[in-house]
């Protein structure tokens, strides 16, 4: 019997990623996601490492940029690339509610 995630678990994760799922996709992902999540459990086998973290193998510290204005885009370019625009604005369907991140 194949290990699977529940439907709810798949939908939860799909929502985090803002990806819609149809029934067929949900069923497929129930299996494949479970497999990957099992894979990452291997991390619990590792022992003897210290707390120091490596975020990325940077070879130097952050460099600072001078506060001088550079080139900006022509608003026309900005709007042309956007799937929807209205006047000088990029347009989206109406957003209800405030930003969750504000």
């Amino acid at each position: 019997m194949e290990e699977k995630l529940s439907r709810e678990e798949v939908l939860h994760v799909a929502n985090l990623a803002r990806i819609k799922m149809n029934e067929e996709e949900i069923e497929k992902f129930r299996v494949s996601l479970k497999k990957l999540l099992n894979d990452v459990e291997k991390i619990n086998e590792v022992e003897g490492y210290d707390d120091e973290i490596l975020i990325a193998p940077w070879s130097s510290e952050c460099k600072l940029r001078k506060d001088e204005v550079g080139e900006m885009l022509d608003p026309k370019e900005v709007l042309e690339n956007a799937p929807r625009h209205s006047g000088n604005y990029i347009q989206v369907p109406v957003v209800i509610g405030e930003s969750e991140g504000a």
Partner: protein, 485 residues
């Protein structure tokens, strides 16, 4: 007259003497590509622009060895005015208004971008089969994969369409396809090459690197693309250098380490035998070879799954149908816009990785998985550093098998990671690593060997690589003389 079969030095001379013009090279490249179109190496060809540039170059002085040479660029590298898709439906209409930094560098050297090569969607995969445009084929055997994610670049080089191609490598995506197709592929030290304009998959792992048919040309291309970039804060503070400078120098006395894990039973015996044979050969030439144990190598894939998928879930969040790219038509509301655009736009592998990545970063999971992975990653890097205190190189096979069938089932999500088990640790530690072809299996499919060096020691890697290349003197033309006149 087939110019692109000649050595770079010959071509350069011919250009300088005006015996050949850039337009001849460009036309030859396109004709090669056309002849091999069923290899599906390209997503977009840059015909008009390449021809225009080639003609413009006729008035210019041949000022460097790469002048006028055509180059193929992986389609996750942003090219201004030229469709850049990442092999994804979500960007299949994306024409950038800006260039990647390395593209600017190629233009400075007067190279001509011939087209954008096929790849796994968003560089996620090990066979280029997740491409929205179908997989490229291996010139050695067209029923086999070229590998991934830089499969298209590997194919076009192996097929001898052009001399130069760029790939990107996050968990082996240059070296592994190079191994499957019998070409030279280098992943430079993290930070060597600017990532500005490389569409991000995993920011702490991605690097752009050269893919060529031989070591010398590989080093020449690396020369052209390295350099600190103020637009990329992770780019290293390194002066320009000539990566060919140690080629031809004596390698006697160099110390080589082969980690036992890399030749354990996870690798096909035929490949292990070949690597051991090469090791033995090097010993005979006066190098020392030690077999060592490295504790953390076996966990590299797990770390990669957590870190790469975590970072990817964040890097790919920007594809939402609002500012560019594919967008759901007539969305009901903003939520529908997000959900449907991304459902329609992304392929299965990409969706899977984004979802797992989001999950691993959420709530308490970040501590249990992500932060833990960062801690272990630090120890992994330190372990490599310790090895390099005593050794000049770490070598081993690049891939666990040779190229497998295009029709191999794709339903095991772990497989796309395990294909890279031998190469991923190098990205984790940010070290440079190269694949060079060292032989063939019983079906005459290429076997590749990986040479790993210490940070920023690409020149030293080229030293050993060119030595072996010369000594082994393999015939690496998959068409066995078809292209020769």
């Amino acid at each position: 007259m087939k110019y692109l079969d000649k050595s770079i030095i010959e071509i350069h001379e011919l250009l300088k003497q005006k015996k050949v013009k850039p337009i001849d090279l460009v036309e030859e490249a396109f004709s090669n590509i056309e002849a091999h179109s069923d290899l599906n190496a390209y997503i977009t060809l840059n015909k008009e622009e390449a021809i225009r540039e080639a003609l413009e170059l006729e008035d210019k002085e041949v000022d460097n060895i790469l002048f006028g040479l055509p180059i193929a660029v992986k389609d996750n590298i942003v090219t201004k005015g030229l469709l850049t898709t990442c092999a994804s439906h979500i960007l299949d209409n994306f024409i950038p208004v800006y260039n990647a930094t390395i593209v600017e560098k190629l233009k400075e050297k007067h190279m001509i971008i011939i087209g954008k090569t096929n790849m796994d969607e968003f560089a996620m995969g090990t066979s280029s089969r997740t491409s929205y445009f179908g997989a490229p084929k291996n010139p050695w055997n067209q029923t086999k994969i070229s590998g991934g994610s830089s499969g298209g670049s590997a194919t076009t080089i192996a097929a001898r369409d052009v001399l130069f191609a760029l790939g990107s490598d996050t968990g082996g995506s240059i070296r592994q396809p190079a191994s499957y197709t019998g070409i030279v592929g280098m992943k430079p030290t993290y930070g060597r090459v600017s990532r500005y304009g490389l569409i991000a998959f995993a920011s702490s792992l991605d690097q752009i690197g050269p893919m060529t048919k031989n070591v010398y040309e590989n080093a020449l291309l690396l020369n052209a693309i390295v350099g600190t970039d103020p637009k990329d804060l992770t780019s290293a503070d390194k002066e320009e250098e000539d990566f060919t400078r140690l080629m031809g120098k004596d390698v006697k006395g160099m110390k080589i380490a082969i980690p036992n894990y890399l030749i354990s039973d996870i690798v096909d015996q035929e490949i292990v035998n070949r690597i051991k044979a090469v090791a033995h050969f090097l010993e005979q030439k006066g190098l020392t070879v030690d077999y060592i144990d490295m504790k953390y190598l076996r966990y590299a894939v797990t770390l990669y799954q957590i870190i790469a998928m975590g970072e990817a879930s964040s890097n790919l969040a920007r594809f939402d149908g609002i500012r560019y790219g594919h967008s759901k038509e007539d969305p009901k509301d903003i939520t529908d816009l997000y959900l449907s655009t991304r459902q329609e736009g992304f392929g299965e592998e990409v969706k899977r990785r984004i979802m797992v990545g989001s999950y691993l970063l959420s709530g308490e999971n970040a501590k249990t998985y992500y932060n833990k992975a960062l801690s272990i990653r630090d120890d992994m890097k330190k372990e490599f550093e310790k090895v390099f205190e005593k050794y000049d190189y770490i070598i081993g096979p690049t891939t666990t098998t040779t190229a497998y069938d295009l029709t191999d089932p794709m339903d095991d999500p772990s497989k796309t990671f395990m294909d890279d088990v031998l190469v991923i640790p190098v990205n984790m530690a940010g070290l440079p690593g190269i694949n060079i072809p060292v032989g063939f299996d019983k079906n005459h499919m290429p076997i590749g060997m990986q040479i790993i060096g210490n940070s920023f020691e690409e020149a030293k890697i080229y030293q050993l690589a060119s030595f072996l290349e010369k000594e082994l003197n393999l015939d690496l033309n998959p068409f066995g003389g078809e292209n020769n006149e």
